[in-house]
């Protein structure tokens, strides 16, 4: 373990999926800038994430995004004391763009450099949002690519309690929205439509809800919704999309809330956090808040901008890695299926 560093000014880069993002942080938790080159307009055209397009866009966007982050934070290259970058999991071509930029900066400026796990980054969005929050916490990270329930005992000490065995929660939202003709991104579309629907209108399965494990499964729910739509069409019935949206959303939310509370009970933790794009879902926030109040738990979640993929959260996680003396060499690789590991 090398010497511990507390970088006052840190730059971070995230390019694991569709967003190119760079951020400048002061003392790990204060965001001086957080530039996200959102590609949502490109994706809307195709009804989903387009990783190849994203990969090329990363190359085009990375330097302007880094420049933009420094400009907005009013810092120059000479002010930067450390670099953090996402090195997995994700699409290798996309990850490499951010990683190469970070390495080039680290080499040219001779600065300490650290790789961060993408889901770990999501958890740290909560530490940016809530300046006084300290571990231990239980964090539910729900996004298009991930559904992970993690017990964070301390900075760098994690235990993955549960994860999805098939589709991620956000992916289920996107796919159901697609077959319902609601467009992309599916999460906000279903969230909005569900407000006008009855969550109890259609009886849909809650995947693995009685299973003793804290794992998730959303594939069966997806199939059930598709089968329901087909069978209604065959009967010549018009679909009630608000009811279907609300019922589908409720099935996802039920499982997420119940398993998270179950995890907190098992570990004996009173602080629950949420992260990732789906954590911005209004029904999930409402139901999780309700469940936490009942159990006397504290609930934390980041503001919407920190729920999406962004570099600030990666910077915060990287800061704490550096604080404990953890550092990576310039030989660090992009790992598409990077496992979630402790670094202390």
């Amino acid at each position: 373990m090398s010497k511990k560093i507390n970088p006052e000014i840190l730059i971070s880069i995230e390019t694991s999926c569709d967003e190119t993002s760079a951020a400048i942080l002061r003392d790990g938790r204060e965001v001086l800038s957080n530039i996200i080159s959102s590609q949502i307009s490109v994706h809307q055209k195709f009804g989903g994430v387009v990783p190849e397009i994203a990969s090329r866009k990363h190359v085009e966007a990375i330097l302007p995004v880094i420049d933009g982050a420094m400009k907005e934070a009013s810092v120059s290259l000479n002010d930067i004391q450390a670099i953090a970058v996402t090195n997995g999991p994700g699409l290798v071509g996309a990850l490499l763009v951010g990683l190469s930029a970070a390495k080039a900066l680290g080499f040219a400026l001779d600065l300490p450099f650290v790789g961060v796990h993408h889901v770990e980054g999501h958890i740290y969005a909560n530490f940016i949002e809530n300046k006084t929050l300290e571990p231990p916490i239980i964090c539910l990270t729900v996004s298009g690519g991930h559904t992970d329930l993690v017990y964070m005992e301390d900075y760098g000490e994690y235990k993955v309690l549960g994860r999805t065995r098939d589709d991620a929660a956000g992916e289920a939202f996107d796919k159901i929205a697609r077959v319902m003709g609601l467009g992309y991104p599916g999460g906000p579309a279903i969230d909005n439509l569900a407000k006008k629907g009855d969550p109890l209108a259609i009886d849909l399965p809650r995947g693995m809800i009685d299973d003793d494990s804290l794992d998730f499964s959303f594939s069966g729910l997806k199939t059930a919704v598709l089968n329901y739509m087909n069978s209604e069409r065959q009967k010549g019935n018009a679909l009630n999309l608000p009811d279907l949206s609300a019922s589908f959303q409720e099935a996802v939310v039920d499982v997420l809330v119940i398993k998270t509370i179950r995890a907190a009970e098992r570990i004996g933790i009173k602080k629950i956090a949420m992260a990732g794009g789906v954590s911005a879902n209004s029904r999930l926030r409402y139901r999780m808040k309700e469940a936490c109040e009942k159990e006397n738990y504290h609930l934390y979640y980041p503001s919407p901008i920190l729920c999406t993929d962004n570099a600030a959260m990666i910077g915060c996680a990287g800061y704490y890695r550096l604080c404990t003396g953890y550092k990576d060499g310039l030989g660090l690789n992009a790992v598409p299926n990077l496992p979630f590991k402790n670094w202390v």
Partner: protein
């Protein structure tokens, strides 16, 4: 072409596992079927047959998922591909002509870039679904071979009498 009928996700997975046992380095599988047909379930079976211990998750969001069993396994979903150029950007040769086993969903998006030889698996949702409550629906699974290597594989697979229609 062989036709199979499976009556549950478990059976679809078991059929995939039988295919997985027969696979060799460099094999290429094209998987088609509508959303929710069971493409990921079938792939999970293949991965089990190849000794993969990890959960096989949907690659729709990540585009490519990699697993390690007795061979490297690449599970791809090309649904979002718009042009061949994008596939070239991705370095598709490493997946299509590499040393692992590659399983591709929505492979038609790759058009002429697809290898000539492949095992084609088509999963069809049976029309007489009486209930939407379970995923125990009936599936018709057609497996077809393109090229010498896969015709041999299909011959081997034909000895497996389970789920044959």
């Amino acid at each position: 072409m062989l036709t199979f009928i499976t009556r549950s996700a478990k059976e679809t997975e078991a059929l995939g596992e039988s295919v997985g046992y027969l696979l060799k380095a460099g094999d290429f599988i094209l998987l088609s079927g509508q959303l929710g047909a069971g493409k990921t379930v079938f792939t999970r079976g293949i991965a089990q047959g190849l000794g993969v211990k990890d959960y096989v998750k949907s690659p729709s969001y990540t585009l490519v998922n990699e697993y390690e069993g007795r061979l490297l396994v690449y599970h791809m979903d090309l649904y979002r591909l718009e042009s061949h150029e994008e596939l070239e950007d991705l370095g598709y040769e490493e997946y299509f002509y590499g040393k692992g086993v590659t399983i591709v969903e929505w492979g038609e998006r790759a058009g002429s870039l697809l290898p000539d030889d492949s095992l084609k698996v088509c999963i069809e949702v049976s029309a007489d679904l009486s209930t939407y409550r379970t995923d125990e629906g009936v599936r018709l699974i057609y497996i077809e071979a393109e090229g010498e290597r896969f015709r041999g594989l299909l011959e081997e697979l034909s000895k497996d009498v389970r789920f044959r229609s």
